[in-house]
Symmetry: D2
Subunit: 350 residues, 4 copies
């Protein structure tokens, strides 16, 4: 009999839900024991309810599992949530209230004062905010969130710079993959041969989440990072991998080789703790003129490594560079999974 921790997935049939199923298939610590989705899917075998959109085959064991009602009764104590924000706003608190550890990819509670927004390599300490949650006090349940798919790659690239040189100003323009919009998501008639210069609420999320992630835990809350931050978000005809053109000004002036070295040398708790989904190198600088590129670099480190390239001086701020991150792995399911691994390592999952 398995010694693994049983986990549930809320929103299991969507693209991120599928990534959870995929990434948990051979996980050493966790095992999918429960799946929930919309009413439409309830009671059906997962393999029929989900329109599987990943290149690896749907795990047979999970394909046969029956989709449960999305209610805490009967659900395991560890829940991965991949819900639309409007649904998450009601459902995640209900599961936390019922004593579940909710490891969420949704935007609903990310900016709540008592909810940690965490990238384990960046701000593992923020997890302590859990202790301020009313749910935690009452039932032991809690909610931990990971950032938006466009914020996470950026922040992984910014964290080493902020730590060593201190960020003053950040400007980012994204070129985001269609998988970030879920399935069916972006209509082909909208994106073939096209760029859409708009993603609803994305710029706001990127700006506020970046500041919270690079903020400091101060008693019962996070003091956001004090740098100026502006984002512009575009959708492009790419399947997976968000590319970002970034400019930064830093408090302490740095040479190119110092910056590159800050990225390549960066490791943190997940690497030290050898968390199963942690990439050996969270940030890798690519020397080639024309990299990173989504088709060739998004899968680095099993999709958990953020790649950076094209560091060069900026005539307005100090430096400009390109960041790439896999949006449904490092930017969603993998982000939550690494959060859960961190929680387990810290003793929060019992």
């Amino acid at each position: 009999m398995s010694q693994k921790i049983p986990v549930g997935i809320l929103g299991a049939t969507g693209i991120v839900g599928q990534r959870f199923v995929q990434m948990l298939e051979h996980h050493p610590w966790f095992e999918v024991a429960w799946l929930a989705a919309s009413d439409r899917s309830e009671g059906r075998a997962y393999g029929e309810a989900a329109r599987w959109r990943l290149k690896t085959a749907i795990p047979e064991r999970v394909a046969k599992m029956v989709v449960s009602p999305a209610k805490p009764e009967g659900a395991p104590k560890v829940i991965f949530a991949a819900l639309d924000a409007s649904i998450a706003a009601e459902m995640e608190p209900a599961f936390a209230q019922a004593g579940c550890a909710v490891v969420s990819n949704s935007s609903a509670l990310r900016m709540a004062k008592d909810v940690p927004l965490v990238i384990p390599e960046v701000n593992a300490g923020h997890v302590k905010l859990i202790e301020t949650q009313a749910w935690r006090k009452k039932s032991g349940g809690f909610v931990v969130t990971n950032p938006n798919c466009s914020a996470i790659g950026l922040v992984l690239a910014l964290a080493p710079l902020d730590k060593q040189f201190g960020l003053e100003t950040v400007m980012a323009v994204t070129m985001q993959a269609v998988s970030g919009a879920g399935y069916p998501g972006v209509a082909s008639l909208d994106i073939l041969g096209n760029v859409i210069p708009y993603i609803a609420k994305e710029e706001e999320k990127m700006e506020e989440e970046t500041l919270k992630l690079l903020g400091k835990l101060n008693g019962a809350g996070i003091v956001p990072g004090s740098f100026a931050m502006s984002a512009q978000c575009n959708r492009v005809a790419v399947e997976d991998g968000h590319t970002e053109s970034v400019s930064v000004r830093m408090k302490k002036k740095a040479k190119a080789e110092e910056i590159i070295s800050a990225w390549n040398a960066y490791t943190a708790e997940p690497q030290k703790m050898r968390l199963p989904s942690a990439p050996a190198q969270p940030v890798v600088y690519l020397e080639a003129d024309d990299r990173p590129q989504p088709r060739f670099d998004a899968d680095r480190g099993a999709g958990m490594t953020t790649t950076v390239g094209r560091l060069r001086p900026c005539k307005v701020l100090d430096w400009k560079f390109t960041v790439l991150s896999h949006n449904t792995i490092r930017g969603a399911a993998g982000a939550a999974l690494l959060n859960a691994e961190l929680l387990k390592a810290q003793g929060y999952l019992g």
Copy 2:
């Protein structure tokens, strides 16, 4: 017998050369009388030498014309040049030396002190720089250039702002169409499902050309614009139309409606003179949340109108917005054609 001015096209078989042929087919003032391309094409019928890549049919009359050697002997006095920079650097001076008016789309001479770099709606007065050219004095020939395909849309959007409010800082990130790289240009294996965060020399061109275009004619030279300017250039899987995410800081603070009005109301010499290829409105602001988009907006004003959208406050500079411009029409052949029309209207074409 035609009363039109006979013109020649250097580099006639490439993508921009084809656009010249297309745009000149029914032109009221000019008529294609001579075509030159590489040695490989010389002596062949144009219709066979050119791999026609445009949606409209190749004009029959031109298809039958024989490709001439790329030498001034026998060439008409008005020459449109669509050459690679390395070839243009030698060939354009040779034609100017021989008395030709060379209206060039190449980058070779754009930044030369005595060569006007012109967008008729922006800096028509710079044309006077012609008079300082040695060729002009000797043979009457001269060279006039238009900017890079990524600079031209940006500058059309910036000019009304600079004029009314004074630019202080400009940051632009481009998402450029593959036709900007010519034919065969970008390999499909490089761009399908991908973004390439690098276009050789493009950022340098955008930065320096923008400053020259928005500079002031001062005696025998141009004093470049004094604002700070930074560009990042990316290639995306779009056929035609360069999209740009732009942020600006201006000397005089402006409200959104003032900026939009500055764009929509902007007209200049080409509109006043009713030049045949001048769009009624050089810059149009689109109100929809998610526009401009290359597939739907690049062809506005027969490809000569720059569209702008998504004006919103920027947390680092003052304002951010999206610019779109057709890269082989307004950004190349149409740019040169409008320059030629301006020259004709000013009496420079005899």
Copy 3:
């Protein structure tokens, strides 16, 4: 005051509905006087209700029109219908019953015994089937349909061959554009970098409609064509234009030049009657090795011309060739419009 015939559009907000609006903007005979769509759109301005997905601007007059309830009361007597089959099955009879001439693009009634399925260049005579309709007898109303977007290009290419040489066997494999699935239609995650070898019910439609179109009117019904017909349908990452690889065996053996001549010389009623939307040449053979191609050839004849290329011997049947047709113009809205023009010319529209 306009002397044009007022027409209504059922399903006006969809992709085909939008094509109707676009193609009717400057129509010499018809004028959009009424628009209906789903309940969701009712009562809203068309410009807000429709997510306009065409490259030309939405006609201002129509954008301001209010979307009516989809009921015959208050509707004009000529109705273009662009409805989903399940809705059309109920709604088209209701409008015919109420005395309307329903010119339908839907599949619902195409195969009904008393409903003409018409391509004016192919089987204009089938229109007479109207007289057998009960609606016609009762209220004067009737339904006329045009074929599926994948059948119409094929049949335009087959008709000249059937007429001159007699078809015996036809095999067609399609590569269909995403616009054929409407909007939002095909999800970008399904089609980017992909081929989908399945379109629900499409092969059945192609096979049976082709036989009905090339059948003979015999009293109160159509005797279908007697040749064998097999279709395979695929979806590809193309915006507009269905490409088909076709093989045929014919009763009378023909030389390549005879076949090409049969295509290029083909004209019929619409050309003789000079119907406004009839292309000068319904079928054009392209000599180039690698044509037709959707990006370059779908718009021929304003999207109403079918292009054919690559005629060469087939080692199984007699000949093989490639057919291309614009799927939302010739294959949908333009097809219905040409049918309406034929009906008008034949006196069926009063």
Copy 4:
């Protein structure tokens, strides 16, 4: 010291050459010891000479190897060849003459009377044709080839049918990936949003190679299969994976389940011998309505499994179905590698 057989790669910098490098990185029997490419690459480190276009990283050891002159002197005795046909026609005989086992992916010698054209699962016995080669007799060297990338998937799907039911007629229409044209290969301006209904010499290759592959070894030659075969080839905007719409007539009538069972149960020498690159199942039938699809199925069996789907009756022949095969793995480098493994197992590599 390695006990592996040292192998060389001719045409090592191209897309197929890169696949050889990738697939040989951890091969249990073979080890890359020598690389050759065009004069331009000679003397440079492979990592610099090759524009690496694969998603996995270039193997470090090979990246540092220096590209050798493309001459037999100093080359290993086992050579994988990925050359253009015109170059292969001269170079492959020269290496065979010098005593090398040339395992070729080129089309140059495929149809030569004494050269085996082999898919190990289909016609392993044809390898014996080596013994009739003059090179073999003189120096021990020989040439073995694998089929064109579009023929190989088709033939893997046909072989089980031919064996059990006997093929009478085959019609295939392909939708081929751009990687099949090498790098830079297909220009993005040619294929974005497009279908190209022509690939030079591809249809001829498919037709004649299919017949040779399914032919019988008869003394010193191959008696080609006696069925009728017709192919139509198209290029689509897909990176990897050729999709084919196929119709067949068979001598012995079969039920759907018999055909599906013939595919799923099919194994041959490579499976029995457990050759390292042999997929467990060479042909897999997918039950879903809309599969196989290149994005989701091309990588099955590490790219060595051919997937089949959509079996349904054909109104002209007996059955129609869709075939998908990875064109640069099973269709090129993997094909040659499996041939080399077969040769090794049969004792031909010393």
